[in-house]
Amino acid sequence: MKMNRIAAVAAALFGLAAAQSSMACSLTAWGQGNPPGGTGAVGGPVTGEPDDAVPVKRYSGRCGLQAGPAAYVQDGLPTAEATYNAQFYMFTAANGTYFQADDAAAAAQIKVSFNGSNIVVERSAGGTPASVVAAANRWYRVLVKFNATAGTLGYTVRGGGAAEATAVTGSIPGVVSTARIETAKLGLVTGTGTATVDAFESRRTSDPTPLCRGDANADGILNVQDRIIITNEALATSLANGQPDVNEDGIVNVQDRIVVTTRALNLDVCP
């Protein structure tokens, strides 16, 4: 999944762009803005599709990013950003840091990690981390909102099939007014296991919109079409181009079909 936004700070992503079916996933969108080492991929992260010979989970679209220890993609497009909002989806299979945003001195200003039972959001050294209870092996949406002017690092975490309204939000104080974001890293920056991430998007001021659980054809509406497309993926007939893993457990199967039917019958609307 790749999403470049006008007015984005660093919206480089892995994955294929618009044309959905036969294009290979790639990491070429990363590495812009002269990141450390001048490379977009560090440590050999892999992008791919769920039906590749070596399957790669994804949250939405067709491609996801899989990373072992110290493997990640990075981008240097953020340029002395005093405000920086980043959203991504992480599959909580590895323990470690999935996302990190550094300043010009390569010091972490934002860290998002999973420790086996919590997603932990941290600001630069000295701050008190925020912990949000999270189950292992589930997809979670994480939104971080760095604001040096206000001196805060805001966060929103939701996942594991829970409704959007259950998102946990909070704010960590103490961000130094002179702190700036210069580099974004996504993958398994530090830690053990294999991390999977998807759908990274960042902006300077506004918040990226959450993706819609169950909108398997990405038309913004939950209806019988999504159920049909999820059925096709569950039967290994074809991959969905939208978000078919409605219960966010990393597997597309009959459970997702049931949940999307319920969502459609309840007239749930996409964010």
Binding site: Q225, R227, I228, L267
Partner: protein, 151 residues
């Protein structure tokens, strides 16, 4: 008998115009409510469909959905539910089998309540095996049920 003749003539008319999948909704005012018959003219290219009918009186109306989508073929299952004053019906197949071509008598919905307004069909769509919408049309068999697809 009269209803069957009406549906047959409606389908002859719409069949002559196109090969669309067509939902025929026929309302009949009964004492204290409306009985709605649902029929479906299938081109054989849809695997699932969905409709929404707004019920006057909203959640306060009494709606009997026990006969809704009971007439689907064995390859398909259907579910009808009342949510926020709207009856939502969905028909689908476990393996995305196609609905057989021809006329399907889907079932009935009965609505009772104090409102004198007619139930209104506000959505109808059908999709092929890839999940793409296919051409559809909606025919009203009487004025006891109205349609407003722009809602």
């Amino acid at each position: 008998m009269r209803k069957n003749l009406l549906i047959a003539s409606l389908l002859l008319v719409c069949g002559a115009a196109s090969a669309n999948d067509t939902l025929v909704v026929t309302g009949e005012k009964a004492k204290g409510g409306t009985a709605i018959a649902l029929d479906y003219s299938s081109s054989g290219s849809a695997t699932g469909f969905q409709f929404k009918i707004a019920i006057p009186g909203g959640d306060k109306a009494k709606v009997n959905l026990s006969g809704c989508l009971k007439g689907l073929p064995a390859t398909h299952a259907g579910v009808c539910q009342m949510t926020k004053g709207v009856v939502i019906g969905m028909a689908f197949s476990d393996n995305n089998a196609l609905l057989p071509a021809g006329m399907l008598s889907l079932g009935t919905i009965s609505v009772s309540g104090a409102s004198s307004q007619a139930p209104t069909v506000i959505e109808f769509l059908a999709a092929d095996q890839a999940g793409n919408k296919i051409a559809t049309s909606l025919e009203m068999g009487s004025d006891a049920v109205e349609k407003n697809l722009g809602q």
